[in-house]
Amino acid sequence: MMKRTLPAILVALVPPFAFAQQIPDYGLGFVTIGDPGNAAYDGRFND
């Protein structure tokens, strides 16, 4: 029983940060920008 459940328990207990790529913030307070492929600026404010 223990052998069967141990791997599942390990998977459940692995904290999310264990998967995170280590990119220190260095106090810069990064925001993430999504919406890839947004439209380019069409010049509407240049008239």
């Binding site: 052998k3 069967r4 791997p7 599942a8 390990l10 998977v11 692995v14 264990a18 998967f19 995170a20 790529q21 280590q22 990119i23 220190p24 260095y26 106090g27 810069l28 307070g29 990064f30 925001v31 993430t32 920008i33 999504g34 919406d35 890839p36 492929g37 947004n38 439209a39 380019a40 600026y41 069409d42 010049g43 509407r44 404010f45 240049n46």
Partner: protein
Amino acid sequence: MTQTIGRGSVGYRYRMSRTETTTGQWLEFYNTFAAQSAAFDTLLRPIGWAARFDVTFSGPGVRFELSPAFPDAGRLAITGMSWRQAAMYANWLHNGKSSDPASLETGAYDTSTFGFDAATSRFTDNVTHLPGARYWIPSLDEWMKVAHWDPDRFGEGEGGWWQFGHSSDEPPAPGLPGEPGAQTSAGADFDLLDTPVVGAYPDALSPWGLLDVSGGAREGTSTWFEDDVGNLLVLEGVQAGGSFAGGNPDDLSFVSISGLSFRSAGLRIASVVPAPGAVGMLTFISSWIGVRRQRRDRDEVRRVAGLW
């Protein structure tokens, strides 16, 4: 200037610092190397920052300290750095803030390419950040998007552009922090020693949450244009307000351009979005396979035993 027309589309996710690089952040960078040798003083000291010589430091190099004349000098935006200084700062971040001078040379940008070809009158700097760079100087496209593109500009999922960097088509109201309605230091009337610190206008946000898009420092980008005589010029980014002396608000329709050493500009750092780590992912996959295998073995035992 019309350099922003047709620009601003970015096909990948990335990160950007909420505020501009501060004197305190640059001071740590500068002192790491200048305290080793005075040669780094010339290489890394910017023109505009709220720091002064530390007269108590006896060498071998030189050291600076926050200027006591400013009430919160460490949080004032730095101005007046060169493109190459900004590139070395990105290299330093990429290399984990190492004190080894070699950490200035590569990682985000290859400084061995920095130079000038007199025969062609062109700079030889490779301004494209290296593959695998973790921090870099934003391109004009990256800068425009984070400052002006709103994925819900015209309603949910209906993206569009704002003219100004606080999610509005009306210019931000100048004023000192705390004054009624004040949204930016750009164009505000204040003494040098009263220069607002970064993040002093928390309600004036870009669509992605950036502070001080107007005001603070003009921000350098890694996008270059060629002038009429073929010299490469560094674009300073969309006019991101004035520096310590105030100035115009950021405006999507206007950018300014200066030469290689754009020493009137500040910096906002871009970064890669953290991805799942390889070790963690392998652990997860192997554990998942282990669970699957044990279930399969268990089912096989039950089948043979006639339990199913």
